[in-house]
C-alpha cells in the first residue's frame, strides 16, 4: 500500500505503551536505532507523491494556498520591517509553513492552538485575518490586540488561538491548562501546543508532560525542530541525542518524528496524533523536522550557519515548491489554477499591508485600558 510505506519512511516513533518500546529500557538506544534505518530510501518528492494520491484535489490546493499565504505574508512583513513600519522583535516563519498548515488541516473548530513568539503563521492558519495580524505588527488600532501586543502577543478567542507567548516555553503549561479546561468542561476539543527545539529544554515542559500524562489531558505537543534556538544549534543544546520525539518517553507519552517540510507527511501523522488524543488516551508528542530560512529575528547576523546550508534546504526541501511540483507532476492542478492562487494570495497580503499602514495608531486613552477587567457591581 503506497500510503503505508510513505508513512513509514517519513516517520519515526517512540511508543511507550507498546511492549516493543518497553524493552528499550534495558538497551535504551535499540528502538530509535531500529526506526532510524527505515527512513530515506525514496526521495522526499517521491514520498510526497505517494501520499498525494490519497488526498483529494480540493484539499491539496487549500494546503498550497495556506502555505503560500503565510510565505507571502511573512515576506511582506519582512519588507515592512525594513521600511521601519514594524518595530521590535519580528520572528518570521518562512520555511516552516508545512508544519502549521498540515496540522491545522487535522483539527476542527473545537480545538485550540497556542504557540511561541514565532506565531504569524499559526494565526493565519487558524483563520485569523491577515489585516488584523499585519495591523498588530504595525502597532495599530486595527490589530488583534489593538496594537498593545505586537508580533509576539496576539490572540483570538473566536479562532481559539491563545497566543503568541514571548517567554520561551511558557506556552507549554498554558496549552496544557487549556486542554485541562476542555476536559473539565467535557468538551470534545484538544489543544495543539507548539514549542521549539530550544524551548524543549525548559523545565516547565517536563512539568507539563508529567501532568498531562498523569491526568490524560487532550494535548498534542508539537516540537518544531528547526535545528536552531537563536544561534545555538541542536547539537550544542541537546544532550545525548538530537532527536526530540522521544522526550516524553519517561512519562509514557508516545512520540513521532515527521518530515516537517512535507505538508502531506505532517497531515498524515497529525491525523493519527489527533485521533489518539481525541480518543481520551492522553497527550502525544510530534517532532517536526523543519527549517527556518530567515534569521531568528530580523536582526540576526546568521554567523552560526552557512549560506550553503540554507540554500540547500530552500532548493531541495521547500514545502511549497514541493507541493507545487507534486500537483503539476500528477496533473492534479494546472499552471493557471496555481497562478490564480498566487494572485489571490498577493491581493490578500497587499490589502493587509495597506490596512496595516492606514489603520490609526491606538488612541492615547488606550494606554490605561485592559489592565483590569472591571468587576461587575451588584444590582
Amino acid at each position: 500500500m503506497a500510503t503505508k510505506s510513505g508513512q513509514e519512511r517519513s516517520r519515526k516513533r517512540s511508543d511507550s505503551s507498546d511492549p516493543e518500546a518497553a524493552k528499550t529500557s534495558a538497551p535504551k538506544r535499540a528502538s530509535s536505532k531500529q526506526s532510524k534505518s527505515s527512513t530515506r530510501s525514496k526521495s522526499p518528492t517521491a514520498r510526497q507523491g505517494d501520499l498525494a494520491k490519497g488526498v483529494d484535489k480540493e484539499l491539496l490546493l487549500k494546503l498550497y494556498e495556506e502555505m503560500l499565504l503565510i510565505r507571502r505574508f511573512e515576506e511582506k512583513a519582512g519588507q515592512m520591517y525594513g521600511m521601519g513600519l514594524i518595530g521590535g522583535f519580528c520572528h518570521l516563519y518562512i520555511g516552516q509553513e508545512a508544519v502549521v498548515v498540515g496540522l491545522q488541516s487535522c483539527i476542527t473548530d473545537d480545538d485550540a492552538v497556542v504557540t511561541s513568539y514565532r506565531d504569524h503563521g499559526h494565526m493565519l492558519a487558524t483563520g485569523m485575518e491577515a489585516n488584523g495580524v499585519m495591523a498588530e505588527l504595525t502597532g495599530r488600532k486595527g490589530g488583534y490586540s489593538k496594537g498593545k501586543g505586537g508580533s509576539m502577543h496576539m490572540f483570538s478567542r473566536k479562532r481559539k488561538f491563545f497566543g503568541g507567548h514571548g517567554i520561551v516555553g511558557a506556552q507549554v503549561p498554558i496549552g496544557t491548562g487549556i486542554a485541562f479546561a476542555m476536559k473539565y468542561n467535557e468538551e470534545p476539543g484538544i489543544c495543539l501546543t507548539y514549542l521549539g527545539d530550544g524551548a524543549v529544554n525548559q523545565g516547565q515542559v517536563y512539568e507539563s508532560f508529567n501532568m498531562a500524562s498523569l491526568w490524560k489531558l487532550p494535548v498534542v505537543y508539537v516540537i518544531e525542530n528547526n535545528k536552531y534556538g537563536m544561534g545555538t544549534s541542536i547539537e550544542r543544546s541537546a544532550a545525548h541525542s538530537t532527536e526530540l520525539y522521544n522526550r516524553g518517553q519517561a512519562y509514557g507519552i508516545p512520540g513521532v518524528q515527521v518530515d516537517g517540510m512535507d505538508v502531506l507527511a505532517v497531515r498524515e501523522a497529525g491525523l493519527e496524533a489527533v485521533d489518539y488524543v481525541k480518543g481520551g488516551k492522553g497527550p502525544y508528542i510530534m517532532e517536526m523536522l523543519t527549517y527556518r530560512y530567515r534569521g531568528h529575528s530580523m536582526s540576526d547576523p546568521a554567523k552560526y550557519r552557512t549560506r550553503e546550508e540554507v540554500q540547500k534546504m530552500r532548493t531541495e526541501h521547500d514545502p511549497i515548491d514541493r507541493l507545487r511540483e507534486t500537483l503539476l507532476e500528477q496533473k492534479r492542478a494546472k499552471e493557471e489554477e496555481l497562478k490564480e492562487i498566487d494572485r489571490r494570495v498577493k491581493e490578500i497580503v497587499g490589502d493587509a499591508a495597506e490596512f496595516a499602514q492606514n489603520s490609526p495608531e491606538p488612541d492615547p486613552s488606550e494606554l490605561y485600558t485592559d489592565v483590569y477587567v472591571e468587576a461587575q457591581a451588584a444590582e
Binding site: G142, R157, I178, M211, Y372, A375
Partner: protein
C-alpha cells in the same frame, strides 16, 4: 478642518454606548464646557461636554442610536470662520472607517460579545459577578470562627455557587491541606474539583493560567508563598499581562493563595513576605487580610473577581478566632482599607498579622496618652490611599508596619504617597517599622529581633509624636 467630537468612554472598559440625546442642535453656537449630548450605558448616564468653541456643524450619529463604539466621531464642530462646505464628505469618511474594521475589532468587540464568546468556551455558564461596594454593614448574626475555617467556608461556598471554580495545589485534597485550610473540600466536591498536584509549582501555575484563559476559575494554593517564586514567571508574564497584551480579549480570573510571611522558627527560605513583590505588578490585585471576617469576605470577592488576585494569608493567624457574619453572602470589596481602631494622634498603617501587633501597640500608647488610629490596609493593590489620607488629615502623623523588608517595601510606597498627597498635613516624617534587613534567622532570640514587634511600633509612634 472641522474638529471631530468623539464618542467618549464612561469607564476604561466601556467599548460602546447609546447616544441618548442631543442637547445642542446643528447650527447652535457652543463654547467649551457646554453639554452637547447625553450618553447611556447599562451602568450609567453621562454628558458629553464640548472641549472647543464653535458651531455644531454636523451631527453624524442620530439621537437614540445604540451601540455607538467609543471613539467614533459623533459630530463635527466648525471653528470660527470655517465654512460649512468643509463638512462635505463627512459621511463618507465615517462609512470608510466602518468598512475598515476587521474581524480583529469584531473579536474584541463589545463587552457583550466578549461575554458571549466566553460562555461558549466555558461549558457551565457561571453566575454573574456581584461585588458589593461599599462594604455592607452587617448587623445580622455572627459566629466565632478561626481564619482557617473562614477561608475554607469561603472556598466551599464559591465552589457550590460556580461550577467553573476548582482548587489545585500540593496536598490540598486527600491530605486536606498542609495547613488544613482545604479541610473537607475533597469530600464534598470530589477529585475533579479538588486536585492534588505533583510538586511542580511552575507547571501547575502555568496550567492554571491556561485553564483560566479558557474560562475556568482556578484557586491555586501555594503550600506557602515562598514556593511561588518558582512560578513567578507564569504569575506575572502570563496571568497579569495577558489581558493587556490581548487588547482586552483574554481574561485571567484566578486566585493564588497560601500563607505568606514568617511562620515560627522555619528560617530564611520559609519565612518571607512577598507583599511588595506582587503589589508592584499592574494587572494583579493583591490582598492580605487580618481578621477572619475579612479573610472570608475578601476570598469570596477574589474568587468572583475577573482578574488574577494574589491572596496572602498568614500561618500564625490561621488559628485565631474572630466574629464572622453568619451568611453565605458576605463579600468584602477588594481595594478598601478599614479603620479598625479610631484615634486622633497618630495613624498606624498595617496589614495581615501586623494589624494585631499594631492594635497591641495602640493599647500601650493609650496608657501613655497617645490616641492611635489603626488602619488595616487589607488590599495592597489597589491601595486605598484615600482612607490613609483622610486619617492623616486628622492625626498628621503616620507609622507604617509590615513584616517585609524596608527596601522598596509597602511602607516605602506609603511614605511616598504621603509626600505626594498629604504633604501639607504632615507634622512629622513618616516612619517605617519593618523586618530587619537580613534573611530571617532560626535562633529564637534572633528571630524575635528580626521581626517587628509591638514595642517597635510604640517607639516609632512616640517618635513621630515627638514624645
Amino acid at each position: 478642518m472641522p474638529i471631530e467630537v468623539l464618542m467618549p468612554a464612561l469607564s476604561p472598559t466601556m467599548t460602546e454606548g447609546k447616544l441618548a440625546k442631543w442637547v445642542k442642535q446643528e447650527g447652535d453656537q457652543v463654547s467649551a464646557g457646554d453639554v452637547l449630548a447625553e450618553i447611556e450605558t447599562d451602568k450609567a448616564t453621562m454628558e458629553v461636554e464640548a472641549v472647543d468653541e464653535g458651531v455644531l456643524g454636523k451631527i453624524l450619529v442620530a439621537e437614540g442610536t445604540e451601540g455607538v463604539p467609543v471613539n467614533d466621531v459623533i459630530a463635527l464642530l466648525l471653528e470660527e470662520g470655517e465654512e460649512a462646505s468643509s463638512l462635505e464628505g463627512a459621511d463618507e469618511r465615517q462609512a470608510a472607517s466602518v468598512e475598515g474594521e476587521t474581524e480583529a475589532a469584531e473579536d474584541e468587540g463589545s463587552s457583550q460579545k466578549a461575554e458571549q464568546a466566553r460562555s461558549t468556551l466555558a461549558a457551565p455558564e457561571g453566575p454573574k459577578e456581584a461585588i458589593p461596594e461599599p462594604e455592607p454593614e452587617w448587623d445580622g448574626p455572627t459566629k466565632k470562627q478561626t481564619v482557617r475555617e473562614a477561608l475554607r467556608d469561603a472556598m466551599a461556598e464559591e465552589l457550590r455557587r460556580d461550577e467553573r471554580v476548582f482548587v489545585m495545589g500540593e496536598e490540598v485534597a486527600e491530605y486536606e491541606g498542609a495547613y488544613k485550610v482545604t479541610q473537607g473540600l475533597l469530600k464534598e466536591f470530589g477529585p475533579k474539583r479538588i486536585i492534588d498536584t505533583p510538586i511542580t509549582e511552575h507547571g501547575f501555575t502555568g496550567l492554571a493560567a491556561g485553564a483560566s484563559m479558557y474560562g475556568l476559575r482556578p484557586i491555586v494554593e501555594f503550600m506557602t508563598f515562598n514556593f511561588s517564586m518558582q512560578a513567578m514567571d507564569q504569575i506575572i508574564n502570563s496571568s497579569a499581562k495577558t489581558l493587556y497584551m490581548s487588547g482586552g480579549q483574554i481574561e485571567n480570573p484566578i486566585v493564588f493563595r497560601g500563607p505568606n510571611g514568617a511562620a515560627a522558627r522555619v528560617a530564611a527560605q520559609h519565612s518571607q513576605c512577598f507583599a511588595s513583590w506582587f503589589a508592584h505588578i499592574p494587572g494583579l490585585k493583591v490582598v492580605s487580610p487580618w481578621s477572619a471576617a475579612d479573610a472570608k469576605g475578601l476570598l469570596k470577592s477574589a474568587i468572583r473577581d475577573p482578574n488574577p488576585v494574589i491572596f496572602l494569608e498568614n500561618e500564625i493567624l490561621y488559628g485565631q478566632s474572630f466574629e464572622v457574619p453568619d451568611t453565605e453572602d458576605w463579600l468584602v470589596p477588594i481595594g478598601k482599607a478599614k479603620v479598625v481602631r479610631p484615634g486622633s494622634d497618630v495613624t498606624i498603617v498595617a496589614f495581615s498579622i501586623m494589624v494585631g501587633k499594631a492594635l497591641e501597640a495602640a493599647e500601650k500608647l493609650a496608657e501613655e496618652g497617645i490616641d492611635a488610629e489603626v488602619i488595616d490596609l487589607r488590599s495592597l493593590r489597589p491601595l486605598d490611599t484615600a482612607t490613609i489620607v483622610e486619617s492623616v488629615k486628622k492625626t498628621n502623623r503616620v507609622v507604617s508596619a509590615e513584616e517585609g523588608w524596608s527596601v522598596a517595601g509597602i511602607g516605602s510606597e506609603i511614605a511616598a504617597i504621603m509626600m505626594e498627597q498629604a504633604f501639607d498635613w504632615l507634622d512629622a516624617p513618616v516612619r517605617r517599622v519593618t523586618g530587619a534587613d537580613v534573611p530571617l534567622p532560626y535562633a529564637a532570640n534572633l528571630e524575635k529581633l528580626a521581626l517587628p514587634q509591638p514595642d517597635d511600633i510604640v517607639e516609632a509612634a512616640r517618635d513621630v509624636c515627638y514624645r
